[in-house]
């Protein structure tokens, strides 16, 4: 299925996906460890004056968590889409490139040096992501330009090196801290940074909008870097821009929710099957589709073993791996 990416089609697809997202959010709002009738959820949502238990649950717990899932889902999916186009490699995603491992090292390091300030961990995670991103970029550059294979290899080796560092730090941390970190490493949305959401949300939207500016260039880049350069694309500028924005999106997402795997890998593939390869159409589809998928996954994580909760990273991994294998076999055959 491929539609030409006319402005009208883009708006129609984005509109339909947004509608689906709204529906998903509404369904997710009614689900949880506590059974709330639809009417009560609605009342809690539309009348901000009340502070019944239902209102606290819907507005204080479920809604912020769903919002976080939307932002993180969109961020990881768009980052994955951008990186896959940039590197012309369907395996590229923020995790393969080691950026999320860098964020994890940052967060654990913040715990390790002892300062348990609420904001320190996400901030350190972000710094870790940025440092890793610069490091992998410098490693992956070849003759002044990004080389796809070198970059991916640099990312993979950096990721495994950082994983070793994480294990080393975990053995030195007290059991008390490891418990929290272990959950965070698996990818977890149960700790919603409500205050930080006001900064994370707009930052993610801005970064996605920034990436969309490169949509046309990414289409041309799919033909190959040299061809794109012949066609008048400033390849170096696109590479640096997309790389920085994708890393930014990953850093923000990982700092808020830990390592949620497979989303950045899977959603771009699903998106291409749905709307084709034109990034003007693919990027909004991936953003909204990623948001929908993560909201659904987290709803499952909240309800599958209620009142206990699963880390959402476990849900995305369990669901993501088989889907990915299926897609792989289908496109190969």
């Amino acid at each position: 299925m491929t539609f030409p990416a006319t402005p009208r089609n883009v708006i129609v697809v984005a509109g339909v996906m947004s509608l689906l997202l709204v529906l998903t959010v509404l369904v997710s709002l009614t689900m949880g460890a506590v059974h709330l009738p639809l009417a009560e959820v609605w009342t809690a949502l539309v009348s901000p004056g009340t502070h019944s238990e239902a209102a606290v649950i819907v507005r204080g717990i479920r809604l912020p968590r769903i919002l976080l899932a939307i932002f993180v889902g969109a961020a990881l999916s768009v980052a994955g889409t951008g990186l896959q186009a940039l590197l012309r490699n369907p395996l590229a995603d923020p995790y393969v490139l080691g950026i999320s491992s860098g964020a994890a090292v940052g967060a654990i390091f913040a715990l390790w040096i002892g300062g348990r300030v609420a904001a320190a961990s996400p901030l350190a995670a972000f710094v870790g992501a940025v440092i890793t991103m610069v490091w992998v970029y410098l490693l992956g550059r070849h003759g002044g330009r990004l080389s796809s294979y070198t970059l991916i290899l640099a990312g993979v080796i950096t990721a495994s090196f950082l994983s070793a560092i994480i294990l080393f730090m975990l053995t030195l941390l007290s059991t008390r801290d490891v418990r929290g970190i272990a959950f965070w490493l698996m990818g977890d949305l149960s700790v919603t940074p409500v205050a930080e959401l006001r900064i994370l949300g707009p930052a993610i939207i801005l970064a996605i909008a920034g990436l969309y500016v490169f949509a046309k260039d990414l289409n041309v880049l799919l033909l190959g870097a040299e061809e794109a350069a012949h066609l008048g694309v400033n390849v170096a500028r696109v590479e640096v821009g997309v790389y920085i924005l994708a890393s930014l999106l990953t850093g923000i997402a990982v700092s808020a929710s830990g390592a949620i795997g497979y989303l950045g890998l899977l959603v771009p593939h699903l998106g291409r099957m749905l709307v084709g390869n034109d990034h003007r159409m693919l990027l909004p589809t991936a953003a909204l589709g990623g948001a929908i998928l993560l909201v659904l996954s987290d709803t499952l994580a909240r309800t599958a073993v209620a009142p206990a909760e699963l880390p959402v990273g476990a849900v995305t991994a369990v669901a993501g791996a088989p889907v990915f294998i299926y897609l792989l076999r289908k496109t190969a055959g």
Binding site: G32, A33, V34, P48, G49, H51, E53, V56, I57, R59, G60, I61, R62, R116, A118, S174, T175, R176, R179, G180, F183, D188, S190, V191, T192, V194, R302, A306, P307, A308, E309, P311
Partner: protein, 336 residues
């Protein structure tokens, strides 16, 4: 905090009405006054914030044992326990009826199993806790995450934390919870009774040799207890010497190399549902058959009460004393 916001909202509302009034008096067109716009914004902001926060109840701010400032209500009567040992303490203080929820792992006393469950210690369901209308949650950093405390605080449910990482700390946490929950005298007498039983064991085993004890938390890899834990305390109080005095952390790993020269006289294994290997399995572990405790067949399963720093920790103490000093110690439950 809530009160401050409420006061802000009130003040802002007053200022807006006042400015609207003065605007009318000075016949200035409404909306041109820039200060008015700012106050309206402030008013809306403060009002929204005060609505988002739950209503204030009479409370006092205290520092809990973990060092957090907690707004504890004066008469908490809807308690949620976030750890099995705390559930036991709440029941022992006669507050079983006030407990409205506990964790999936709270199994003692048996009626604790029938309370509404809020999930696991590490990742409880916040919305369950809210739906139970809890006015005070009780937790411990040994079992819960700090993030849970932060989230509950945001939702207006105070979490009071106690630390029970040593034997003395366990007694202190019971005493502390008694004070917070308005059962200070009950807590005092419970602690006094526990202390009397500890003293009685101490008197009984006086002058006895102190066997070297290996406590096995897990065996593949071998994990034992650190010297500064309540389990090590209980072993010492029961007249044993826990091996690994120089180990670091709460649940350190022990290699065979470190274990062999220490050569424990007694090996203790807590019996739990998830941990019930056979004695033969241990004896067949590489290197173990040369240990004195294995050769002399002084390996014992003990009840898992010893892993729970609550009122029954003295039961575990008497049980351990009986295992380590079978000739002189009282049997569990035996009274003088």
């Amino acid at each position: 905090m809530r009160d401050t916001l409420r006061a802000c909202a009130g003040l802002a509302f007053f200022m807006v009405t006042y400015e609207m009034h003065s605007a009318q008096v000075s016949s200035r067109p409404f909306g041109v006054n820039p200060g008015g716009g700012a106050t309206v914004l402030l008013c809306v902001l403060a009002a929204t914030l005060s609505i988002l926060l739950p209503p204030a109840v009479s409370a006092r701010t205290v520092k809990d044992q973990t060092g957090r400032s907690v707004n504890v209500p004066d008469n908490p009567h809807r308690l949620v326990s976030l750890a099995p040992n705390i559930t036991e303490i709440v029941y022992a203080l006669g507050l079983g009826d006030e407990l409205v929820g506990d964790t999936d792992y709270c199994d003692f006393p048996p009626q604790a199993k029938n309370k509404p469950h809020i999930g696991t210690m590490v990742n409880p369901s916040l919305e369950r806790i809210v739906a139970l209308k809890a006015d005070l949650a009780l937790g411990t950093p040994e079992a819960n995450r700090r993030e849970t405390a932060d989230q509950l605080e945001r939702l207006g449910i105070p979490l009071y934390g106690v630390t029970a990482s040593t034997l003395a700390g366990t007694l202190a946490s019971i005493d502390d919870l008694g004070k917070i929950l308005g059962r200070a005298s009950e807590a005092r007498s419970l602690v006094a009774e526990m202390q009397a039983r500890i003293d009685r064991v101490e008197k009984r085993i006086e002058g006895q040799p102190k066997p070297k004890v290996l406590f096995v938390v897990w065996y593949r890899p071998l994990i034992t207890v650190g010297p500064r834990t309540f389990i090590a305390d209980v072993i010492r109080a029961a007249g044993g010497t826990p091996i690994g005095e120089n180990l670091k952390g709460e649940w350190p790993r022990l290699t065979l190399e470190e274990l062999l020269p220490q050569n424990p006289d007694v090996i203790l294994l807590p019996k739990t549902e998830s941990f019930s290997p056979s004695m033969e399995e241990f004896q067949s572990l590489p290197g173990w058959k040369d240990l004195r405790a294995v050769k002399e067949r002084r390996m014992f399963f003990v009840s898992e009460t010893v892993m729970r720093p609550g009122p029954r920790l003295v039961d575990a103490l008497e049980e351990l004393a009986g295992v380590l000093h079978p000739t002189v110690a009282l049997k569990t439950g035996e009274r003088q």
